[in-house]
């Protein structure tokens, strides 16, 4: 799960990390009021869950209230890479003497949180990583030991020499690690962490991604979820315990397991079709889930055929079959539905499916081909 910059900064502030004063606004009026309160030049920053907002014109400097008003007007309601900007962060514009990159990420290889710091901070950090990786200093923190002050200090020394800066950065690294660990983050990032002309170190940006698996024990973070920034059908799917990503094709896919779902989509494409979505009904099956999945997919007017591919393991085919039967009865779909149910309780499923007679196929390739064919017929 992603949270906005202003929310990330709230988390930073709560542990005593230095961020410039600022507040979030949803209207131009609010934005101006905040800028007035700050009473100094401000930055107007779009709050969207996507990178590159600066290049897209979503981050602007406002010398005075008038400028703040104009930028707030332009940015609020903007569309950045398909996402609407509903919120802007109005924050004091601070003078910058240096930009440092600081991030902590869950590392699959070392199985540790890895801290990364680089003097080459700013928007081009990815290029730095690609072309001059030696400019990025890394430390894998043993999660059983935690980050120790001397380690943070030694990292700070990689980028700074002045002990006063080193002390501030050490403190920020230690606190950022606490944030990372305590909110079940998969990523925390400050880019840039800046120094000011009077040698203060401040986080002027902030990014925090949360490990979805940790959300059940992070009620405060869960409350930060900004539903207005997500696709409504994806939200509906999540509520139903499904993983759903909307795409532009015309073949609705219902599959159990992310890997199999992707493989199914790959084959749809391979055989000349176009998937309308990614939908994983997840592990433990219950008929209700399947009913909800059908409801979401049939809600997409582009969909010309539905492909259901289930390979039962912990998912039981009979549960899925019951769900399909219920969906067909309740939703009365007018487009073809092709099913392939195999694996756990396959025989039981076949019995249940007899109640409605849907086209079936014995293998992955065949169910895909049949769905494409039926979608084509439907199209005409």
């Amino acid at each position: 799960m992603k949270i906005h910059e202003y929310q990330a900064k709230e988390l930073f502030q709560a542990v005593g990390m230095p961020v410039p004063p600022g507040k979030v606004a949803t209207t131009v009026q609010e934005a101006v009021a905040i800028a007035d309160e700050i009473n100094r030049p401000v930055m107007v920053k779009a709050q969207v869950h996507v990178g590159g907002r600066g290049k897209a014109g979503g981050v602007k400097y406002a010398e005075n209230l008038e400028a703040a008003k104009i930028w707030a007007q332009r940015i609020l309601g903007m569309d950045i890479k398909g996402l609407p900007v509903n919120k802007v962060l109005i924050t004091e514009a601070v003078e910058i003497t240096s930009e440092t990159y600081l991030g902590i990420i869950l590392d699959r290889v070392t199985k540790c949180p890895v801290i990364m710091i680089s003097a080459a901070g700013g928007i081009d950090i990815e290029e730095v990583a690609d072309k001059t990786p030696e400019k990025i200093h890394k430390l894998a923190v043993n999660p059983r030991v935690g980050l120790r002050p001397f380690e943070a200090r030694n990292l700070a020394y990689k980028v700074f020499r002045d002990i006063k800066l080193v002390r501030q950065v050490t403190d920020i690294i230690l606190k950022l690690y606490d944030v990372f660990w305590n909110v079940d983050a998969s990523l925390v990032e400050i880019n840039p962490l800046i120094t000011t002309p009077i040698n203060q170190v401040i986080a002027i940006d902030g990014k925090v991604n949360i490990d979805d698996n940790g959300l059940f024990r992070q009620p405060e973070i869960e409350q930060m979820r900004d539903l207005s920034a997500e696709d409504p059908s994806e939200i509906e799917a999540k509520k139903a315990g499904l993983t759903f990503i909307k795409l532009d094709g015309n073949i609705g896919c219902i599959v159990n397991g992310a890997g199999l779902a992707m493989a199914t989509m790959d084959l749809v494409k391979h055989y000349g079709g176009d998937p309308a979505n990614f939908l994983d009904i997840g592990g433990s099956s219950n008929p209700e889930k399947v009913l909800n999945a059908m409801r979401i997919i049939l809600g997409d007017p582009n969909v010309k055929a539905v492909l259901i591919n289930i390979f039962g393991g912990i998912t039981r085919c009979d549960d899925v079959a019951s769900g399909i039967v219920a969906a067909v009865k309740e939703l009365n779909p007018e487009i073809p539905i092709v099913t392939r149910l195999t694996g756990t309780n396959e025989a039981k499923a076949r019995k249940i499916m007899k109640e409605i007679s849907l086209p079936t196929a014995p293998t992955l390739d065949e169910v895909v081909k049949k769905a494409i064919k039926l979608a084509g017929l439907n199209e005409e």
Partner: protein, 312 residues
């Protein structure tokens, strides 16, 4: 004799009285796995399908000499169940549970690292050594005893591949789903190493998917260390760019994580990649033939020749 589980496996089922736990305990028993005990606190003294249930793992191990454990408890309790199994002396732990926080798994990983414990998962379908033992949720009826090892990051896609192999007349030594989470106990290289050292395995099917760089690392390993043929499948060729992990994701892995890059890396290491699981038996047959041919000629230039053969 297969890897990680075999006829000597004495299985303990943690969370045996839950919906999934009880169902799959029965399935495993039916398949022939030696399920010796179950654990659910508060249910000690009862039985599930004739399997004795204990209040804790230590008691279960003391009474039944269980040496392997499979975990079907909810995500909030999964890491505690792993600790309990490890502290009770279990050396092979398979965690089926989906949704375990990565922080918990990082701590677990470094806890078991020096304790000689083999952890598979979490968020995995487990493993099966056909006709010997099945631990987890892989449907037994699609498997067939043979000499192909299967290793996969996916769950159900694994079944699809096994199904394709069996349909193509190709039996399996052991099939393992290592799990799709960020932090997993056993990775591709661990399993490939075990297959390389397992006499009953003649070739390996490796099933990857987009994200991370595990497939690339595994490909490098295959090229450098493996003598047995490996064929691959990568899911997600048409996946949308999807969620990115900020700048840090790319910085840390030094890999784009796309299917195209993974396929390239595998091909570069001499691993042919199938478009559909159904192609895998044919690819494997071809690779096995190549190997045999090579064995007939010079032994030293194995890998090089294998790559060349592909290019033709």
């Amino acid at each position: 004799m297969a890897i990680f589980i075999n006829k000597k496996t004495k299985l303990l089922v943690q969370g045996i009285t839950g919906r999934d736990g009880s169902f799959h305990a029965k399935e495993m028993k039916k398949y022939g796995t030696n399920v010796v005990a179950g654990v659910t606190p508060g249910k000690g003294g009862t039985k599930v399908a004739g399997i004795p249930v204990f209040n804790n793992v230590a008691d279960a191990v003391a009474k039944t000499k269980a040496n392997t454990s499979v975990i079907y408890v909810p995500p909030a309790f999964a890491s505690d169940s792993i600790y309990e199994a490890v502290d009770a002396g279990i050396k092979t732990v398979i965690c089926i549970t989906e949704g375990v926080p990565a922080n918990d798994m990082m701590k677990i990983y470094h806890y078991i690292k020096h304790r000689g414990v083999r952890l598979i998962g979490p968020n995995c379908p487990g493993l099966i050594s056909p006709e010997l033992s099945k631990v987890g949720i892989i449907p037994g009826n699609i498997c067939k005893r043979g000499n192909i090892g299967v290793v996969s990051r996916s769950g159900t896609l694994t079944y699809e591949v096994i199904f394709a192999l069996t349909s193509g007349g190709m039996g399996q030594s052991t099939c393992i789903g290592i799990g799709g989470d960020q932090i997993i106990g056993t990775n591709f290289i661990d399993v490939l190493t075990a297959f390389e050292n397992d006499r009953s395995t003649k070739g390996v099917v490796m099933i990857g998917e987009i994200g991370g760089s595990d497939e690339e690392d595994a490909a490098m390993f295959v090229k450098k260390k493996m003598t047995k043929p490996v064929v691959g499948f990568i899911a997600g060729r048409t996946a949308p760019p999807g969620k990115r992990m900020g700048h840090a994701g790319a910085i840390i892995s030094g890999s784009s994580g796309t299917a195209a890059d993974k396929v390239k890396a595998l091909n570069k290491a001499g691993i042919p990649v199938a478009t559909s699981p159904l192609e895998l038996p044919a690819l494997m047959t071809e690779k096995l033939k190549e190997m045999k041919a090579k064995k007939g000629t010079v032994k030293k230039t194995k890998t090089k020749r294998s790559t060349k053969a592909k290019k033709k």
